[in-house]
């Protein structure tokens, strides 16, 4: 067992960090790179709070080893807003009151971005299916689903 150096493109910037081989990407993001927007809810892939986008694909960062991302591209919640302000999904979550405590919100926004990147005009059923891996205990999902649908109809992917 030895410390590894990992180089990755993180939210568009090249970053090199050290980690232990058994560390997950979630731990590395939070404890090595100080990006605590990615949340830990279960560390078992059952809640989605740690969702990030890896090479364009939505993943649970608790189920990826930090070592595995060497040479790959990662987008976290901190990389969703653009230089000109919030992403339309972020605005839509605020306007639709789609968060209460907010702990699951980064995961939902990252997951929703991955959805809209793939399917810009999802139906309600498609949104619910895509987000079924993200648990929210506060909202009953109603306003989250509406926020994603509204962002989609406003053309969130143009950002």
């Amino acid at each position: 067992m030895s410390t590894l150096a990992v180089t990755t493109t993180l939210n568009g910037e090249t970053v090199t960090f050290l980690c232990e081989p058994h560390e997950t990407l979630l731990t590395a993001l939070r404890d090595r790179l100080m990006l605590t927007g990615t949340k830990e809810g279960c560390s078992n892939g059952n809640c989605g709070a740690c969702n990030v986008i890896l090479d364009g694909t939505l993943v649970n960062s608790c189920l990826v080893l930090a070592a595995e991302v060497d040479g790959h591209q990662i987008t976290t919640i901190e990389g969703i807003a653009g230089p000109n302000g919030l992403h339309p999904l972020q605005t839509s979550f605020l306007e639709n009151a789609a968060l209460q405590c907010g702990i699951c919100t980064p995961g939902f926004i990252v997951a929703s971005k991955a959805l809209l990147d793939k399917n810009p005009q999802p139906t309600e059923r498609e949104v619910r299916h895509w987000l079924a891996g993200n648990l929210c205990r506060c909202t009953g999902y109603d306003k989250i689903v509406r926020a994603v649908l509204e962002a989609a109809s406003a053309g969130a992917t143009k950002e």
């Binding site: 968060l99 702990i103 993200n134 989250i144």
Partner: protein, 758 residues
């Protein structure tokens, strides 16, 4: 712009003040705290449900490189029997302490036994694995019937059945018996022409907040303790730390982080005192500990499994003449189930002349029960509302009709004695009655699918409690608001809105922040649906003070008496002079008498009790037993909706939790008391795919005791869902489901028992 109700801010939907931080990942929650020089803590938890701790050997653990401190229950100061009012009711501090780290016995699977602080989490966890405990296993008591059986071995030698201060002569697992009585129960049932009676069972469930508990504590060499944690009540943490650790309350400062859900489960401390002990042993280095999801489920939170029997009597015209309820609630390893509030909730929606309610608080080898959103309410209402439904069917009355006929109103005497003030139950039922959902016909399904519709009502007391806040007016017209109510669902904004309305300024000028316990006056926890009511009331008073001061300043600028100045539409006016804008007056404060700072602390009164009525359509697959929620409408009297989308969100979220409780959520144990489903995979909370849109029907019967008419909102909506879903399943299948959750396997078994073939 003024709305038709005269309000300018209340009822609007500004962007919440903490919103941008929460959608960009910048908001800092419990586990996001990182102090310089911090150590990482890990906990050893009991693998047994009930076992004597013969010895703990930490020598190998101490030898793991990086380990800086190890603590066990022996490191906690001895606290004698002291009954304190903490959390939901009376708590014996000795029990509270023994729940933090076990003393001589582990009392449930997951009970904290010892903890390690080390320079890395890996080292701490490796050291925990090297702590050797010599156990003497004891037979566990795992359910109510066993715990209450005559001759059952008592968990604690010093817990006796308390009947309002009178103790049993021998130790018992029945920690408390309480009773409410009204009228003459025998006469009431004698008068009844129809009597229905049934027993219901509910499983252990968890609050299910997504953020695990996390605490970071530093115990300084000067004796000062600083606690960073995710909590519903920073002042409660301060008090518990002081009591458990035996330090003066002034030595404890609690800095609340953002909180990722609580629902009652983050009222009490778990990790904080342990981190403190570790920090002290490690020479004052801060220690951070975060629970795994398995720890959260196995060792925190749950609300009680219960047995509830309800008997109702009515005349043919539907008038209730008598009601009797008997309920036993699991307290877990230490006394303190919510059976007391359950006894207050169970028949509260109805005006019944003759009532007896008995409640029992029962110990067993499960984690200590904690409050969960309307504690006890869901268990109680599931039984009572099922029986109201059964009675309505026996009498061939409609579900809303029978509830309206017996509905509690202003002046109705509750079973526990007090008389209701102005309440809005009738208005809530009427709103549901006239709603298109109730007026619609439920399309029948085909094949193996059956559809049904159910209704249930629910009540919650709501709590007032103490709140404090302070504010200052800045030269640019903004108002900095410091409050102590941790914000779980947008209360910074709902409180800021009330402050803005009270002063008469736009809400975006208010800058609310939640501050630490040294920086604001005392606040009770965010719980009991009190924050928008009570801290909002404080904000109103604060606003009135600031407004008065602002007028005084304007008067000095006008060189007139304050009484001659009015503040209207953002401007100060006095006769014969051009108006001064709000910003002009704020910019000139230093020249007109100095800064404006105000603070208010109130022990609030007049919290408005609230009611909800829910309507649900379900579809049951009679071949698999699976229940699908097709449509859900929840009506609730909220007094006044300060921020309507947040009010809807509270109702929708309560429904979702209630549906989860109704259909799938429950703790599963093996015969030895090991929890089998301590994870989000097998503790099945609803996903986005398990629910439809949930229509929240806001009914506003203003609370006359609040300046803006606010009633608590958060708890009522979890009370009716289990009963509503059960009644809908009955409507679909003709089978009365008497056990929660109404899981597919239980539904199939009930169908088979009832002889209904697929």
């Amino acid at each position: 712009m003024t709305q038709s109700n005269g309000f300018k801010v209340i009822g609007t939907r500004p962007v919440r003040h903490d919103g941008v931080d929460k959608v960009t990942g910048r908001a800092l929650y419990g586990a996001d705290v990182r102090l310089n020089g911090q150590l990482y803590g890990a906990m050893l938890r009991s693998p047994h449900a009930h076992a004597r701790i013969v010895a703990i050997d930490t020598s190998e653990a101490a030898a793991v490189p990086g380990v800086k401190a190890i603590v066990t229950g022996a490191d906690l100061p001895h606290v004698g029997d002291q009954i304190a009012d903490i959390g939901e009711g009376a708590v014996n501090l000795r029990h509270l302490s023994a729940n933090i780290l076990a003393g001589r016995k582990a009392l449930y699977f997951g009970h904290a036994i010892a903890a390690v602080a080390a320079t890395s989490l890996t080292a701490a966890q490796q050291a925990v694995n090297k702590i050797k405990v010599t156990w003497e296993e004891l037979p566990p008591v795992l359910n109510l019937r066993d715990a209450m059986a005559a001759g059952a071995a008592p968990l604690h030698p010093d817990v006796f059945t308390d009947e309002l201060g009178e103790k049993s002569t021998t130790p018992s697992n029945i920690a408390e018996h309480l009773r409410h009585e009204k009228g003459d129960i025998a006469a009431g049932f004698a008068e009844a022409e129809v009597v229905v009676e049934r027993e219901f069972v509910t499983g252990t469930v968890h609050q299910g907040y997504i953020e695990p508990h996390s605490a970071t504590v530093q115990w300084n060499a000067d004796g000062q303790l600083t606690v960073y944690c995710s909590t519903q009540g920073a002042f409660g943490v301060r008090r518990e730390m002081s009591e458990i650790l035996g330090v003066p309350i002034s030595h404890v400062k609690v800095v609340p982080t953002e909180i990722g859900g609580g629902f009652g489960g983050k009222l009490n401390v778990y990790l904080e005192p342990v981190c403190a002990l570790l920090s002290r042993k490690a020479g004052g280095r801060p220690v951070k500990m975060t629970m795994s999801r398995a720890d959260v489920l196995a060792a925190t939170g749950p609300t009680s499994a219960s047995i509830v029997r309800v008997k109702l009597g009515a005349r043919r015209d539907g008038t209730l003449t008598a009601a009797q309820a008997w309920m036993a609630f699991e307290a877990g390893a230490f006394p303190g189930s919510p059976v007391g509030s359950a006894a207050g909730v169970i028949l509260a929606p109805y005006d019944i002349p003759n009532v007896v309610i008995d409640g029992f608080d029962v110990l067993c080898n499960k984690p200590k029960a904690n409050a969960y959103r309307a504690p006890g309410g869901t268990n109680a209402a599931y039984a009572a509302e099922s029986m109201i439904d059964e009675l309505a069917r026996a009498l061939k009355m409609g579900p809303i009709e029978i509830r309206l006929k017996n509905a509690a109103r202003e002046g109705t005497r509750r079973a526990d004695g007090p008389v209701f003030p102005r309440i809005g139950f009738v208005e809530t039922l009427e709103a549901l009655l006239h709603h298109p959902h109730f007026q619609s016909r439920l399309e029948r399904a085909t094949g193996s699918r059956r559809r049904g519709r159910g209704i249930a009502a629910g009540f919650w007391f709501n709590w007032g409690g103490t709140s404090s806040a302070s504010a200052q007016v800045n030269p640019d017209g903004t108002v900095a608001l410091s409050e102590g109510s941790t914000d779980i669902g947008g209360t910074r904004t709902s409180i800021a809105m009330q402050l803005a309305e009270s002063i008469g300024i736009p809400v975006n000028l208010v800058k609310p922040q939640v501050v630490d316990t040294d920086s604001v006056g005392y606040n009770d926890a965010t719980g009991g649906s009190r924050t928008t009511f009570a801290t909002g009331m404080v904000a109103y008073e604060l606003g009135q003070k600031l407004r008065e001061e602002l007028i005084a300043h304007a008067a000095r600028q006008f060189e007139v008496e304050a009484a001659a100045v009015r503040f209207e539409d953002g401007a100060f006016r006095t006769d014969g002079k051009p108006p001064l804008s709000y910003f002009d007056v704020c910019g000139a404060l230093r020249d007109t008498g100095g800064e404006i700072v105000a603070s208010v602390s109130m022990r609030t009164k007049g919290e408005g009790p609230a009611f909800g009525a829910h309507l649900v359509d379900v579809e049951v697959d009679i071949e698999t037993g699976k229940v699908k929620i097709l449509r859900y409408t929840a009506a609730q009297d909220v007094g006044r909706a300060i921020y309507p989308p947040f009010v809807e969100g509270q109702i929708q979220g309560g429904v979702a939790q209630g549906v989860g409780w109704a259909l799938n959520e429950e703790y599963l144990y093996d015969k030895a008391g090991h929890m089998l489903n301590a994870g989000f995979l097998d503790y099945r909370m609803p996903t986005a795919l398990d629910l439809p849109m949930i229509e929240a029907l806001i009914v506003e019967v203003p609370n006359p005791r609040h300046p803006y008419g606010v009633r608590g909102v958060g708890e009522v909506p979890i009370v009716p869902p289990a009963g509503a879903v059960a009644n809908a399943i009955f409507d679909a299948l003709g089978v009365r489901m008497t056990e929660l959750p109404m899981s597919p396997a239980r539904n199939i078994a009930a169908l088979a028992a009832a002889g209904v073939a697929a």
